[in-house]
Protein backbone atom coordinates (compact mmCIF):
# COMPACT_ATOMS: atom_id res chain seq x y z
CA UNK A 1 0.00 0.00 0.00
CA UNK A 2 2.94 2.25 0.75
CA UNK A 3 4.30 1.67 -2.77
CA UNK A 4 0.97 2.62 -4.32
CA UNK A 5 0.68 5.71 -2.11
CA UNK A 6 4.21 6.87 -2.95
CA UNK A 7 3.68 6.45 -6.67
CA UNK A 8 0.47 8.49 -6.50
CA UNK A 9 2.35 11.26 -4.70
CA UNK A 10 5.21 11.14 -7.18
CA UNK A 11 2.73 12.04 -9.91
CA UNK A 12 1.46 15.02 -7.90
CA UNK A 13 -1.78 13.65 -6.44
CA UNK A 14 -2.84 14.92 -3.01
CA UNK A 15 -4.39 12.68 -0.40
CA UNK A 16 -7.93 13.25 0.82
CA UNK A 17 -10.29 11.27 3.00
CA UNK A 18 -14.05 11.40 2.96
CA UNK A 19 -16.41 10.45 5.81
CA UNK A 20 -17.25 6.79 6.37
CA UNK A 21 -20.59 7.46 7.99
CA UNK A 22 -22.72 9.29 5.42
CA UNK A 23 -26.32 10.37 5.35
CA UNK A 24 -27.98 7.65 3.25
CA UNK A 25 -29.11 10.05 0.55
CA UNK A 26 -25.46 10.80 -0.36
CA UNK A 27 -24.87 7.18 -1.33
CA UNK A 28 -28.22 5.74 -2.35
CA UNK A 29 -29.60 6.33 -5.80
CA UNK A 30 -26.23 6.86 -7.50
CA UNK A 31 -25.34 3.36 -8.68
CA UNK A 32 -28.65 2.06 -9.91
CA UNK A 33 -30.83 -0.59 -8.34
CA UNK A 34 -28.12 -3.16 -7.73
CA UNK A 35 -25.84 -0.63 -6.04
CA UNK A 36 -28.60 0.41 -3.69
CA UNK A 37 -29.27 -3.19 -2.75
CA UNK A 38 -25.58 -3.78 -1.98
CA UNK A 39 -25.13 -0.64 0.11
CA UNK A 40 -24.81 -1.14 3.85
CA UNK A 41 -27.26 1.12 5.63
CA UNK A 42 -28.64 1.35 9.14
CA UNK A 43 -30.37 3.76 11.51
CA UNK A 44 -28.32 5.65 14.09
CA UNK A 45 -29.49 6.60 17.59
CA UNK A 46 -31.16 9.73 16.31
CA UNK A 47 -33.13 7.46 13.98
CA UNK A 48 -31.35 8.92 10.90
CA UNK A 49 -30.69 6.61 7.97
CA UNK A 50 -26.92 6.15 7.56
CA UNK A 51 -25.02 4.45 4.72
CA UNK A 52 -21.44 3.24 4.35
CA UNK A 53 -19.62 4.14 1.11
CA UNK A 54 -20.09 1.71 -1.79
CA UNK A 55 -17.12 3.19 -3.66
CA UNK A 56 -14.93 6.29 -3.40
CA UNK A 57 -16.00 8.05 -6.57
CA UNK A 58 -19.42 9.21 -5.37
CA UNK A 59 -18.16 10.57 -2.01
CA UNK A 60 -15.38 12.30 -3.95
CA UNK A 61 -17.86 13.84 -6.40
CA UNK A 62 -19.78 15.17 -3.41
CA UNK A 63 -16.56 16.55 -1.96
CA UNK A 64 -15.70 18.37 -5.20
CA UNK A 65 -19.21 19.75 -5.56
CA UNK A 66 -19.04 21.16 -2.03
CA UNK A 67 -15.49 22.54 -2.25
CA UNK A 68 -14.73 23.38 -5.88
CA UNK A 69 -14.38 27.08 -5.15
CA UNK A 70 -11.40 26.40 -2.87
CA UNK A 71 -9.77 23.66 -4.96
CA UNK A 72 -6.95 24.28 -7.43
CA UNK A 73 -8.53 23.17 -10.72
CA UNK A 74 -7.75 20.83 -12.36
CA UNK A 75 -7.70 18.96 -9.05
CA UNK A 76 -5.74 15.73 -8.65
CA UNK A 77 -6.46 13.61 -5.63
CA UNK A 78 -5.86 10.13 -4.41
CA UNK A 79 -7.89 8.31 -1.83
CA UNK A 80 -7.16 4.98 -0.19
CA UNK A 81 -10.06 3.89 1.99
CA UNK A 82 -12.28 0.99 2.82
CA UNK A 83 -15.62 0.56 1.10
CA UNK A 84 -18.45 -1.84 1.92
CA UNK A 85 -20.64 -4.04 -0.22
CA UNK A 86 -23.27 -6.38 1.13
CA UNK A 87 -22.68 -9.23 -1.28
CA UNK A 88 -21.39 -12.76 -1.21
CA UNK A 89 -17.62 -12.62 -0.70
CA UNK A 90 -15.56 -13.92 -3.64
CA UNK A 91 -11.89 -14.35 -4.42
CA UNK A 92 -10.12 -11.06 -3.78
CA UNK A 93 -13.38 -9.34 -2.95
CA UNK A 94 -14.65 -9.31 0.63
CA UNK A 95 -17.63 -7.40 2.02
CA UNK A 96 -15.20 -4.83 3.31
CA UNK A 97 -12.29 -3.94 1.06
CA UNK A 98 -9.86 -1.22 0.12
CA UNK A 99 -10.04 0.91 -2.97
CA UNK A 100 -7.13 3.04 -4.12
CA UNK A 101 -8.61 5.77 -6.29
CA UNK A 102 -7.00 8.52 -8.27
CA UNK A 103 -8.91 11.14 -10.19
CA UNK A 104 -8.18 14.27 -12.17
CA UNK A 105 -11.11 16.60 -12.24
CA UNK A 106 -11.58 19.82 -14.21
CA UNK A 107 -9.68 19.08 -17.42
CA UNK A 108 -10.81 17.54 -20.69
CA UNK A 109 -7.29 17.10 -22.07
CA UNK A 110 -6.33 13.59 -23.15
CA UNK A 111 -2.97 14.21 -21.47
CA UNK A 112 -4.86 13.31 -18.26
CA UNK A 113 -5.64 9.86 -19.62
CA UNK A 114 -2.07 9.37 -20.82
CA UNK A 115 -0.72 10.45 -17.42
CA UNK A 116 -2.96 7.96 -15.66
CA UNK A 117 -1.79 5.16 -17.95
CA UNK A 118 1.82 6.14 -17.28
CA UNK A 119 1.07 5.98 -13.57
CA UNK A 120 -0.61 2.58 -13.82
CA UNK A 121 2.53 1.24 -15.50
CA UNK A 122 4.67 2.83 -12.77
CA UNK A 123 2.59 1.34 -9.94
CA UNK A 124 2.84 -2.22 -11.27
CA UNK A 125 6.49 -1.78 -12.14
CA UNK A 126 7.23 -0.75 -8.56
CA UNK A 127 5.20 -3.68 -7.25
CA UNK A 128 7.37 -5.87 -9.55
CA UNK A 129 4.25 -7.28 -11.21
CA UNK A 130 5.16 -8.20 -14.81
CA UNK A 131 2.89 -8.81 -17.79
CA UNK A 132 0.10 -6.34 -17.27
CA UNK A 133 -2.15 -5.25 -20.09
CA UNK A 134 -4.03 -1.97 -19.99
CA UNK A 135 -7.09 -2.32 -22.20
CA UNK A 136 -8.39 0.94 -23.56
CA UNK A 137 -11.52 1.84 -25.43
CA UNK A 138 -13.52 4.95 -26.21
CA UNK A 139 -17.12 5.00 -25.06
CA UNK A 140 -17.72 7.78 -27.57
CA UNK A 141 -16.34 5.66 -30.44
CA UNK A 142 -18.35 2.66 -29.29
CA UNK A 143 -21.57 4.70 -29.38
CA UNK A 144 -20.78 5.90 -32.91
CA UNK A 145 -20.05 2.37 -34.14
CA UNK A 146 -23.22 0.97 -32.58
CA UNK A 147 -25.26 3.76 -34.14
CA UNK A 148 -23.74 3.05 -37.56
CA UNK A 149 -25.21 -0.43 -37.27
CA UNK A 150 -28.62 1.06 -36.68
CA UNK A 151 -28.74 0.47 -32.92
CA UNK A 152 -30.69 3.36 -31.51
CA UNK A 153 -29.52 5.43 -28.59
CA UNK A 154 -32.06 4.14 -26.09
CA UNK A 155 -30.65 0.66 -26.60
CA UNK A 156 -26.92 1.38 -26.49
CA UNK A 157 -26.55 1.05 -22.72
CA UNK A 158 -28.09 -2.43 -22.66
CA UNK A 159 -26.06 -3.45 -25.72
CA UNK A 160 -22.87 -2.21 -24.08
CA UNK A 161 -23.71 -4.19 -20.93
CA UNK A 162 -24.00 -7.37 -22.96
CA UNK A 163 -20.79 -6.74 -24.91
CA UNK A 164 -19.07 -6.04 -21.56
CA UNK A 165 -19.47 -9.72 -20.71
CA UNK A 166 -17.68 -10.95 -23.84
CA UNK A 167 -14.57 -12.24 -22.04
CA UNK A 168 -16.76 -14.01 -19.49
CA UNK A 169 -19.45 -15.64 -21.65
CA UNK A 170 -17.78 -15.72 -25.05
CA UNK A 171 -18.48 -14.23 -28.43
CA UNK A 172 -21.21 -16.65 -29.50
CA UNK A 173 -23.39 -16.10 -26.45
CA UNK A 174 -23.03 -12.34 -26.82
CA UNK A 175 -24.10 -12.53 -30.47
CA UNK A 176 -27.17 -14.66 -29.68
CA UNK A 177 -28.16 -12.38 -26.79
CA UNK A 178 -27.88 -9.35 -29.04
CA UNK A 179 -29.94 -11.15 -31.68
CA UNK A 180 -32.60 -11.75 -29.04
CA UNK A 181 -32.72 -7.97 -28.62
CA UNK A 182 -33.59 -7.69 -32.29
CA UNK A 183 -30.12 -6.82 -33.55
CA UNK A 184 -29.90 -9.04 -36.60
CA UNK A 185 -26.46 -7.87 -37.69
CA UNK A 186 -25.00 -8.68 -34.26
CA UNK A 187 -22.31 -10.86 -35.81
CA UNK A 188 -21.06 -7.99 -37.94
CA UNK A 189 -21.14 -5.63 -34.95
CA UNK A 190 -18.92 -7.94 -32.94
CA UNK A 191 -16.64 -8.57 -35.90
CA UNK A 192 -16.11 -4.85 -36.34
CA UNK A 193 -15.40 -4.43 -32.65
CA UNK A 194 -12.88 -7.27 -32.47
CA UNK A 195 -9.39 -5.91 -32.12
CA UNK A 196 -6.40 -6.63 -34.35
CA UNK A 197 -2.99 -7.83 -33.15
CA UNK A 198 -1.53 -4.33 -32.98
CA UNK A 199 -3.04 -1.02 -31.89
CA UNK A 200 -2.13 0.39 -35.29
CA UNK A 201 -4.01 -2.42 -36.96
CA UNK A 202 -7.06 -1.90 -34.76
CA UNK A 203 -7.16 1.82 -35.56
CA UNK A 204 -6.73 1.09 -39.26
CA UNK A 205 -9.61 -1.35 -39.16
CA UNK A 206 -11.79 1.35 -37.59
CA UNK A 207 -10.59 4.01 -40.06
CA UNK A 208 -14.15 4.49 -41.29
CA UNK A 209 -14.99 5.97 -37.89
CA UNK A 210 -13.47 8.95 -36.14
CA UNK A 211 -10.54 7.56 -34.15
CA UNK A 212 -8.72 10.86 -33.52
CA UNK A 213 -9.37 10.55 -29.78
CA UNK A 214 -7.60 7.19 -29.50
CA UNK A 215 -4.87 8.31 -31.92
CA UNK A 216 -4.11 11.44 -29.92
CA UNK A 217 -4.12 9.45 -26.68
CA UNK A 218 -1.69 6.88 -28.11
CA UNK A 219 0.71 9.57 -29.29
CA UNK A 220 0.73 11.17 -25.79
CA UNK A 221 1.41 7.75 -24.27
CA UNK A 222 4.24 7.26 -26.71
CA UNK A 223 5.83 10.60 -25.75
CA UNK A 224 5.52 9.65 -22.08
CA UNK A 225 7.39 6.46 -22.82
CA UNK A 226 4.55 4.06 -22.04
CA UNK A 227 5.66 0.69 -23.45
CA UNK A 228 3.44 -0.36 -26.33
CA UNK A 229 3.25 -3.94 -25.09
CA UNK A 230 1.34 -2.75 -22.00
CA UNK A 231 -1.31 -0.92 -24.00
CA UNK A 232 -4.08 -2.60 -25.94
CA UNK A 233 -6.89 -0.86 -27.78
CA UNK A 234 -9.87 -3.17 -27.36
CA UNK A 235 -13.08 -1.90 -28.99
CA UNK A 236 -15.16 -4.51 -27.12
CA UNK A 237 -14.11 -3.16 -23.72
CA UNK A 238 -17.25 -1.66 -22.28
CA UNK A 239 -17.03 -1.20 -18.49
CA UNK A 240 -20.58 -1.71 -17.30
CA UNK A 241 -20.95 1.53 -15.39
CA UNK A 242 -23.26 4.00 -17.05
CA UNK A 243 -21.47 7.20 -16.21
CA UNK A 244 -18.44 6.80 -18.48
CA UNK A 245 -18.42 9.16 -21.44
CA UNK A 246 -14.88 9.04 -22.89
CA UNK A 247 -11.96 6.64 -22.74
CA UNK A 248 -12.34 3.62 -20.45
CA UNK A 249 -9.58 1.47 -18.96
CA UNK A 250 -9.25 -1.98 -17.53
CA UNK A 251 -6.00 -3.51 -16.34
CA UNK A 252 -5.50 -7.26 -16.28
CA UNK A 253 -2.58 -9.46 -15.48
CA UNK A 254 -1.95 -12.12 -18.09
CA UNK A 255 -0.64 -14.31 -15.26
CA UNK A 256 -3.89 -14.28 -13.28
CA UNK A 257 -7.20 -15.99 -13.74
CA UNK A 258 -9.36 -13.38 -12.05
CA UNK A 259 -10.82 -10.14 -13.35
CA UNK A 260 -9.37 -6.67 -13.56
CA UNK A 261 -6.92 -5.33 -10.98
CA UNK A 262 -7.53 -1.70 -11.85
CA UNK A 263 -10.20 0.03 -13.91
CA UNK A 264 -11.76 3.37 -14.64
CA UNK A 265 -12.44 5.97 -17.28
CA UNK A 266 -13.64 9.45 -18.07
CA UNK A 267 -16.95 10.74 -16.78
CA UNK A 268 -18.37 14.13 -17.70
CA UNK A 269 -21.43 14.44 -15.55
CA UNK A 270 -20.82 12.90 -12.17
CA UNK A 271 -20.37 16.04 -10.08
CA UNK A 272 -23.60 17.35 -11.46
CA UNK A 273 -25.37 14.92 -9.13
CA UNK A 274 -24.38 17.13 -6.20
CA UNK A 275 -24.26 20.64 -7.63
CA UNK A 276 -25.31 22.71 -10.60
CA UNK A 277 -21.69 22.73 -11.80
CA UNK A 278 -20.33 19.98 -14.00
CA UNK A 279 -16.67 19.04 -14.14
CA UNK A 280 -15.19 16.57 -16.54
CA UNK A 281 -13.12 14.04 -14.68
CA UNK A 282 -11.11 10.92 -15.30
CA UNK A 283 -9.93 8.37 -12.79
CA UNK A 284 -9.13 4.79 -12.01
CA UNK A 285 -9.43 2.59 -8.94
CA UNK A 286 -6.88 -0.06 -7.99
CA UNK A 287 -8.36 -3.11 -6.29
CA UNK A 288 -6.05 -3.52 -3.34
CA UNK A 289 -7.07 -7.04 -2.29
CA UNK A 290 -6.89 -8.35 -5.84
CA UNK A 291 -3.40 -6.90 -6.21
CA UNK A 292 -2.39 -8.59 -2.95
CA UNK A 293 -3.85 -11.84 -4.22
CA UNK A 294 -1.89 -11.49 -7.44
CA UNK A 295 1.31 -10.76 -5.50
CA UNK A 296 0.73 -13.91 -3.49
CA UNK A 297 0.05 -16.01 -6.58
CA UNK A 298 3.21 -14.70 -8.21
CA UNK A 299 5.07 -15.27 -4.94
CA UNK A 300 6.07 -11.61 -4.94
CA UNK A 301 4.53 -10.73 -1.63
CA UNK A 302 6.98 -8.97 0.63
CA UNK A 303 6.11 -8.52 4.24
CA UNK A 304 6.27 -4.86 5.10
CA UNK A 305 6.84 -5.28 8.82
CA UNK A 306 10.60 -5.73 8.55
CA UNK A 307 12.26 -6.53 11.87
CA UNK A 308 14.53 -4.07 13.59
CA UNK A 309 18.14 -4.20 12.48
CA UNK A 310 19.64 -4.38 15.96
CA UNK A 311 18.71 -5.39 19.49
CA UNK A 312 20.53 -3.55 22.27
CA UNK A 313 20.97 -5.97 25.16
CA UNK A 314 21.42 -5.04 28.82
CA UNK A 315 24.37 -6.98 30.25
CA UNK A 316 23.70 -6.16 33.92
CA UNK A 317 22.36 -3.37 36.15
CA UNK A 318 25.59 -1.40 35.63
CA UNK A 319 25.29 -1.35 31.87
CA UNK A 320 21.76 0.10 31.69
CA UNK A 321 23.05 3.62 31.15
CA UNK A 322 25.36 2.65 28.25
CA UNK A 323 22.68 0.53 26.66
CA UNK A 324 20.19 3.39 26.75
CA UNK A 325 22.80 5.73 25.28
CA UNK A 326 23.53 3.29 22.43
CA UNK A 327 19.82 2.77 21.81
CA UNK A 328 19.25 6.50 21.66
CA UNK A 329 22.17 6.98 19.20
CA UNK A 330 20.83 4.29 16.88
CA UNK A 331 17.31 5.69 16.86
CA UNK A 332 18.57 9.20 16.21
CA UNK A 333 20.74 7.94 13.33
CA UNK A 334 17.69 6.27 11.80
CA UNK A 335 18.79 2.67 12.37
CA UNK A 336 15.63 0.65 13.13
CA UNK A 337 16.42 -0.89 16.51
CA UNK A 338 15.03 -1.85 19.88
CA UNK A 339 16.22 -2.41 23.42
CA UNK A 340 15.67 -5.39 25.74
CA UNK A 341 13.98 -4.12 28.88
CA UNK A 342 15.52 -6.34 31.59
CA UNK A 343 19.12 -7.22 32.44
CA UNK A 344 18.38 -10.92 32.03
CA UNK A 345 20.68 -13.74 30.98
CA UNK A 346 22.17 -12.91 27.58
CA UNK A 347 21.06 -16.25 26.17
CA UNK A 348 17.46 -15.25 26.89
CA UNK A 349 17.98 -11.90 25.19
CA UNK A 350 19.53 -13.65 22.17
CA UNK A 351 16.55 -15.96 21.96
CA UNK A 352 14.26 -12.96 21.84
CA UNK A 353 16.29 -11.49 18.94
CA UNK A 354 16.11 -14.83 17.16
CA UNK A 355 12.36 -15.02 17.56
CA UNK A 356 11.94 -11.52 16.18
CA UNK A 357 14.48 -12.18 13.38
CA UNK A 358 16.63 -9.25 14.40
CA UNK A 359 19.98 -9.73 12.58
CA UNK A 360 22.34 -7.94 14.99
CA UNK A 361 22.61 -8.10 18.77
CA UNK A 362 24.72 -5.53 20.59
CA UNK A 363 26.53 -6.24 23.86
CA UNK A 364 28.25 -3.79 26.18
CA UNK A 365 29.55 -5.64 29.25
CA UNK A 366 32.27 -4.49 31.66
CA UNK A 367 35.05 -5.63 29.30
CA UNK A 368 33.69 -3.65 26.40
CA UNK A 369 33.01 -0.65 28.65
CA UNK A 370 36.63 -0.53 29.69
CA UNK A 371 37.90 -0.46 26.10
CA UNK A 372 35.17 1.85 24.80
CA UNK A 373 34.03 -0.92 22.48
CA UNK A 374 30.84 -2.73 21.65
CA UNK A 375 30.37 -6.34 20.61
CA UNK A 376 28.25 -6.93 17.52
CA UNK A 377 26.86 -10.43 17.30
CA UNK A 378 25.48 -11.54 13.95
CA UNK A 379 22.60 -13.86 14.78
CA UNK A 380 22.68 -15.67 11.43
CA UNK A 381 26.07 -17.29 12.07
CA UNK A 382 26.84 -16.33 15.67
CA UNK A 383 29.99 -14.50 14.57
CA UNK A 384 31.03 -11.72 16.91
CA UNK A 385 33.03 -8.60 16.25
CA UNK A 386 34.25 -5.82 18.50
CA UNK A 387 34.46 -2.27 17.24
CA UNK A 388 34.81 1.14 18.91
CA UNK A 389 31.40 2.30 20.20
CA UNK A 390 31.51 5.46 18.10
CA UNK A 391 31.75 3.40 14.88
CA UNK A 392 28.58 1.47 15.58
CA UNK A 393 26.25 3.60 13.47
CA UNK A 394 28.69 3.58 10.52
CA UNK A 395 28.99 -0.18 10.83
CA UNK A 396 25.28 -0.86 10.82
CA UNK A 397 24.34 1.67 8.15
CA UNK A 398 27.07 0.46 5.76
CA UNK A 399 26.59 -3.24 6.28
CA UNK A 400 26.17 -4.83 2.88
CA UNK A 401 24.13 -8.00 2.68
CA UNK A 402 25.21 -10.06 -0.35
CA UNK A 403 21.86 -11.87 -0.68
Amino acid sequence: MEIIRKTFEQFGYSPIETPIICPAETILGKYGEEGDRLTYSFKDRGNRLIALPYDLTVPFARFVAANYQDLPLPFKRYQIQRVWRAEKPQQGRLREFYQCDIDIIGSKSLICEAEIVKMIVAVFEKLLIPNITIKVNSRRLMNVILQSFGINQSNTISVIRIIDKITKIGEEVVVSELQKMGIDNAKMVIETLTREDTNKGTLKKLAAYDTTELGEFLSYCDSLGVPEKNLQIDPTLARGLDYYTGLTFEVISTDANFGSICAGGRYDNLCGLFSDKDFSGVGVAFGFERIMLLLEQLKLFRSSNAPSQALVTIFNENSVKDALQTYSNLIEAGVPSEIYFEPEKLSKQFKFADKKQIPFVLIQGPEEQEKGEITIKRMQNGKQKNIPVNQLVTYLTNYYEAK
Binding site: I376, R378, N381, K383, K385, I387, P388, Q391, T394, Y395, N398, Y399, Y400, E401, A402, K403
Partner: protein, 208 residues
Amino acid sequence: MKRNNIRIAVQKEGRLKIPSLEYLESLGLQFSKENGRILIVSCKNADAEILYVRHRDIPQYIQSGAADFAVVGGDILYENNFKIRKVKKLNFGECGLVIAIPVVSPIKKIEELNGERIATSYPNSLRKFLKKQKINAVIIEIRGSVEVAPALGLADAICDLTQTGNSLQENALKPIATVFNSTAVFIESPFERGQKSEFANKFLTATL
Protein backbone atom coordinates in the same frame (compact mmCIF):
# COMPACT_ATOMS: atom_id res chain seq x y z
CA MET B 1 25.33 24.88 -27.63
CA LYS B 2 26.81 24.29 -31.07
CA ARG B 3 30.50 23.77 -31.44
CA ASN B 4 32.42 23.25 -34.61
CA ASN B 5 35.55 21.87 -33.01
CA ILE B 6 36.02 18.66 -31.11
CA ARG B 7 36.76 18.44 -27.39
CA ILE B 8 38.91 15.78 -25.81
CA ALA B 9 38.80 15.37 -22.04
CA VAL B 10 41.82 14.18 -20.08
CA GLN B 11 42.67 13.80 -16.42
CA LYS B 12 43.62 17.17 -14.85
CA GLU B 13 46.11 15.65 -12.45
CA GLY B 14 47.14 12.15 -11.56
CA ARG B 15 48.64 9.01 -12.95
CA LEU B 16 46.94 9.14 -16.34
CA LYS B 17 47.61 12.79 -17.20
CA ILE B 18 51.07 12.56 -18.78
CA PRO B 19 50.54 9.30 -20.71
CA SER B 20 47.17 10.61 -21.95
CA LEU B 21 48.73 13.79 -23.31
CA GLU B 22 51.56 11.84 -24.91
CA TYR B 23 49.02 9.59 -26.53
CA LEU B 24 47.13 12.56 -28.01
CA GLU B 25 50.44 13.97 -29.32
CA SER B 26 51.16 10.65 -30.94
CA LEU B 27 47.94 11.12 -32.89
CA GLY B 28 49.40 14.33 -34.33
CA LEU B 29 47.76 16.96 -32.14
CA GLN B 30 49.96 19.86 -31.05
CA PHE B 31 49.10 21.75 -27.88
CA SER B 32 50.70 23.25 -24.79
CA LYS B 33 51.13 20.64 -22.10
CA GLU B 34 51.64 23.29 -19.44
CA ASN B 35 48.06 24.37 -18.99
CA GLY B 36 48.48 25.99 -15.55
CA ARG B 37 45.02 26.94 -14.37
CA ILE B 38 43.52 27.03 -17.83
CA LEU B 39 41.15 24.10 -18.19
CA ILE B 40 40.44 24.35 -21.93
CA VAL B 41 43.51 24.48 -24.20
CA SER B 42 43.25 24.85 -27.98
CA CYS B 43 45.33 22.73 -30.31
CA LYS B 44 47.79 24.62 -32.50
CA ASN B 45 47.35 22.50 -35.60
CA ALA B 46 43.76 21.30 -35.43
CA ASP B 47 40.26 22.43 -34.68
CA ALA B 48 40.32 20.68 -31.32
CA GLU B 49 40.45 21.52 -27.64
CA ILE B 50 41.94 19.64 -24.72
CA LEU B 51 39.73 19.68 -21.62
CA TYR B 52 41.48 19.19 -18.27
CA VAL B 53 38.98 17.82 -15.77
CA ARG B 54 38.67 15.66 -12.68
CA HIS B 55 39.13 12.02 -13.57
CA ARG B 56 35.88 10.87 -11.93
CA ASP B 57 33.87 13.49 -13.84
CA ILE B 58 35.03 12.41 -17.31
CA PRO B 59 32.20 9.89 -17.97
CA GLN B 60 29.62 12.59 -17.23
CA TYR B 61 31.24 15.02 -19.69
CA ILE B 62 31.10 12.31 -22.32
CA GLN B 63 27.53 11.24 -21.55
CA SER B 64 26.23 14.80 -21.65
CA GLY B 65 28.09 15.55 -24.87
CA ALA B 66 30.17 18.35 -23.28
CA ALA B 67 33.22 16.46 -24.51
CA ASP B 68 33.41 14.35 -27.67
CA PHE B 69 36.29 12.09 -26.73
CA ALA B 70 38.24 11.26 -23.62
CA VAL B 71 41.05 9.22 -22.21
CA VAL B 72 39.81 7.64 -18.99
CA GLY B 73 40.70 4.78 -16.67
CA GLY B 74 38.63 1.64 -17.20
CA ASP B 75 38.20 1.51 -13.42
CA ILE B 76 36.10 4.70 -13.47
CA LEU B 77 33.77 3.28 -16.11
CA TYR B 78 33.35 0.03 -14.18
CA GLU B 79 32.78 1.75 -10.85
CA ASN B 80 30.07 4.00 -12.21
CA ASN B 81 28.56 1.41 -14.52
CA PHE B 82 28.79 3.81 -17.46
CA LYS B 83 27.78 2.27 -20.74
CA ILE B 84 29.96 4.26 -23.07
CA ARG B 85 31.38 3.02 -26.33
CA LYS B 86 35.03 2.20 -25.89
CA VAL B 87 36.84 3.10 -29.08
CA LYS B 88 40.11 1.58 -28.04
CA LYS B 89 41.80 -0.05 -25.10
CA LEU B 90 45.12 1.75 -24.56
CA ASN B 91 48.39 0.21 -23.51
CA PHE B 92 49.03 2.40 -20.49
CA GLY B 93 47.45 3.09 -17.13
CA GLU B 94 47.47 -0.57 -16.17
CA CYS B 95 46.22 -1.17 -12.65
CA GLY B 96 44.17 -3.52 -10.55
CA LEU B 97 41.50 -3.02 -7.93
CA VAL B 98 42.49 -5.32 -5.08
CA ILE B 99 41.31 -6.21 -1.61
CA ALA B 100 44.20 -5.99 0.83
CA ILE B 101 44.57 -6.69 4.54
CA PRO B 102 47.23 -5.78 7.10
CA VAL B 103 50.15 -8.22 6.93
CA VAL B 104 49.50 -8.96 10.61
CA SER B 105 45.81 -9.74 10.07
CA PRO B 106 44.58 -13.22 11.04
CA ILE B 107 42.42 -13.26 7.89
CA LYS B 108 43.60 -15.78 5.31
CA LYS B 109 40.75 -16.34 2.86
CA ILE B 110 38.31 -13.85 1.41
CA GLU B 111 35.40 -15.71 3.05
CA GLU B 112 36.78 -14.52 6.37
CA LEU B 113 35.94 -10.96 5.37
CA ASN B 114 32.37 -11.73 6.48
CA GLY B 115 31.27 -9.06 8.95
CA GLU B 116 34.54 -7.11 8.56
CA ARG B 117 34.95 -3.46 7.62
CA ILE B 118 36.43 -2.69 4.19
CA ALA B 119 37.49 0.87 3.35
CA THR B 120 37.32 1.92 -0.31
CA SER B 121 36.74 4.72 -2.80
CA TYR B 122 35.21 2.14 -5.17
CA PRO B 123 32.03 1.17 -3.25
CA ASN B 124 30.07 0.00 -6.30
CA SER B 125 32.83 -2.24 -7.64
CA LEU B 126 33.35 -3.66 -4.16
CA ARG B 127 29.63 -4.27 -3.72
CA LYS B 128 29.47 -6.16 -7.03
CA PHE B 129 32.44 -8.26 -5.94
CA LEU B 130 30.96 -9.04 -2.51
CA LYS B 131 27.67 -9.99 -4.11
CA LYS B 132 29.37 -12.41 -6.49
CA GLN B 133 31.42 -13.92 -3.66
CA LYS B 134 28.40 -13.96 -1.31
CA ILE B 135 30.25 -12.07 1.39
CA ASN B 136 28.44 -9.78 3.85
CA ALA B 137 30.69 -6.94 4.88
CA VAL B 138 30.70 -3.32 5.93
CA ILE B 139 31.68 -0.90 3.17
CA ILE B 140 33.36 2.19 4.57
CA GLU B 141 33.51 4.80 1.83
CA ILE B 142 36.54 7.09 1.86
CA ARG B 143 37.55 9.50 -0.92
CA GLY B 144 41.29 9.00 -0.70
CA SER B 145 44.29 7.75 1.34
CA VAL B 146 42.43 4.49 1.76
CA GLU B 147 45.62 2.58 2.64
CA VAL B 148 45.82 4.27 6.00
CA ALA B 149 42.35 3.22 7.23
CA PRO B 150 43.38 -0.12 8.85
CA ALA B 151 46.21 1.50 10.80
CA LEU B 152 43.74 4.09 12.13
CA GLY B 153 41.35 1.39 13.33
CA LEU B 154 38.69 2.47 10.84
CA ALA B 155 38.70 -0.72 8.80
CA ASP B 156 39.87 -4.33 8.78
CA ALA B 157 40.69 -4.37 5.08
CA ILE B 158 40.84 -2.06 2.08
CA CYS B 159 39.77 -2.23 -1.52
CA ASP B 160 41.96 0.06 -3.58
CA LEU B 161 43.66 0.60 -6.91
CA THR B 162 47.24 -0.54 -7.16
CA GLN B 163 49.79 -0.37 -9.98
CA THR B 164 53.05 -1.66 -8.56
CA GLY B 165 51.96 -2.73 -5.10
CA ASN B 166 54.51 -0.36 -3.54
CA SER B 167 51.95 1.69 -1.70
CA LEU B 168 50.41 -1.41 -0.20
CA GLN B 169 53.80 -2.62 0.97
CA GLU B 170 54.70 0.71 2.51
CA ASN B 171 51.51 0.59 4.54
CA ALA B 172 52.08 -3.00 5.67
CA LEU B 173 49.22 -4.37 3.59
CA LYS B 174 49.03 -7.47 1.40
CA PRO B 175 46.53 -8.19 -1.38
CA ILE B 176 44.27 -11.24 -1.01
CA ALA B 177 41.90 -10.81 -3.96
CA THR B 178 41.59 -8.94 -7.25
CA VAL B 179 38.29 -7.27 -8.09
CA PHE B 180 39.36 -6.34 -11.63
CA ASN B 181 42.29 -5.30 -13.81
CA SER B 182 42.02 -2.31 -16.07
CA THR B 183 43.89 0.02 -18.42
CA ALA B 184 43.23 3.46 -19.83
CA VAL B 185 40.62 3.52 -22.58
CA PHE B 186 39.73 5.94 -25.34
CA ILE B 187 35.99 6.67 -25.33
CA GLU B 188 33.58 8.56 -27.54
CA SER B 189 30.44 10.54 -26.75
CA PRO B 190 27.20 8.90 -27.93
CA PHE B 191 26.00 12.27 -29.27
CA GLU B 192 25.92 13.20 -32.96
CA ARG B 193 28.71 15.54 -33.81
CA GLY B 194 26.80 17.31 -36.57
CA GLN B 195 28.90 19.66 -38.67
CA LYS B 196 32.21 18.77 -37.17
CA SER B 197 31.78 15.12 -37.91
CA GLU B 198 34.18 15.05 -40.87
CA PHE B 199 37.18 16.09 -38.84
CA ALA B 200 36.00 14.02 -35.89
CA ASN B 201 35.74 10.96 -38.05
CA LYS B 202 39.19 11.56 -39.48
CA PHE B 203 40.48 11.92 -35.94
CA LEU B 204 38.67 8.78 -34.89
CA THR B 205 40.27 6.85 -37.75
CA ALA B 206 43.69 8.02 -36.59
CA THR B 207 43.15 6.50 -33.16
CA LEU B 208 42.44 3.04 -34.51
